[in-house]
């Protein structure tokens, strides 16, 4: 139904079509209420922080917490492109246990209008820090998956 562009070699790529206008999908994507609902590993968890400063150079920060263990998972980043209702680009960093930020990666979200429908294409890229430029060919995500399959087979053989 939607054309599939060639995914970047070091990316996660997801796509979903909604029965809603692009403006609504775009607004929902960045709505703190939606972030709070999304950002919990299960319903018992709490989301003490869901902040969004939606403008180029603005930051977002979301934090979820397991009330039993007190363990927290926080992600944050900065918006580098805010083009309502077509495109949104932001950096993504996990906060480490020592409070430092992890390696930044990039999330690009395209909102494509098709009549009444809107297709969201999300690409999360840049996990490796050094060498993305000299890499070509197919993705390492595939390699990791092939590798995992291999491990599973081996586990099945030895058990």
């Amino acid at each position: 139904m939607t054309e599939i562009t060639k995914p970047n070699e070091t990316s996660l790529r997801l796509q979903r079509t909604y029965d809603a206008p692009a403006e609504d999908v775009f607004d929902a994507w960045t709505n703190p209420e939606v972030l709070r609902r999304w950002w919990k590993a299960n319903p018992a968890w709490i989301t003490p922080v869901a902040e969004v400063d939606l403008r180029v150079g603005g930051r977002y920060r979301i934090s979820m917490e397991d009330p039993e263990s007190g363990k927290k998972y926080t992600a944050e980043g900065e918006y580098s492109e805010v083009s309502r209702p077509t495109r949104l680009v932001y950096s993504w960093q996990w906060e480490q246990e020592d409070g430092e930020l992890g390696h930044p990666s990039t999330v690009a979200v395209d909102f494509r209008s098709e009549g009444e429908l809107t297709t969201v294409v999300l690409e999360h890229t840049g996990f490796e820090s050094l060498e993305s430029r000299d890499s070509h060919g197919h993705g390492w995500e595939g390699v990791l998956e092939a590798f995992q399959t291999h491990l599973n087979e081996r586990a099945a053989q030895t058990s």
């Binding site: 999908v25 209420e33 996990w94 480490q96 992890g102 000299d134 390492w140 990791l144 092939a146």
Partner: protein, 128 residues
């Protein structure tokens, strides 16, 4: 922190087709350096560089047996990189689901009874 740096190195290790090729070969079992790196059509120094990156990432280890160097895959860093990717993908899947659910609720609020025409208002501003 250390863990995160190791993950970065694993992703780097997997980011080049030749290194992926070496890992794929080694997934089948231990090999000599020659077996694992032959036929890629690149120079020895280039191969050495790739092997060094793979070793730094902890993705392979070198077993020296007299004059023979054998390479072996180490599973843990690749396992962790795989788990990281899987978690991240699941997070985005859940975000796509949450947006879907939210949009459906908005639609219901705006079309209380029978088939009202297209909604125009911006529903994202207030949700409760």
């Amino acid at each position: 922190m250390a863990n995160n740096a190791l993950l970065d190195r694993t992703f780097v290790a997997c980011s080049h087709p030749i290194r992926r090729g070496i890992l794929e070969r080694l997934a089948g079992g231990e090999m000599t350096v020659g077996e694992a790196t032959g036929d890629f059509g690149v120079s020895k120094p280039a191969i050495s560089k790739h092997l060094k990156l793979l070793e730094e990432a902890g993705a392979i280890t070198r077993v020296i047996d007299g004059r023979t160097h054998r390479l072996r895959l180490r599973e843990q860093p690749l396992d962790e990189a795989y788990a990281w990717m899987t978690n991240q993908r699941e997070l985005w899947e859940r975000k796509l689901d949450t947006v879907d659910q939210y949009l459906r609720e908005q639609r219901k609020h705006q079309q209380p009874q029978q088939g009202a025409p297209q909604q125009e208002n911006n529903p994202a501003k207030e949700s409760k």
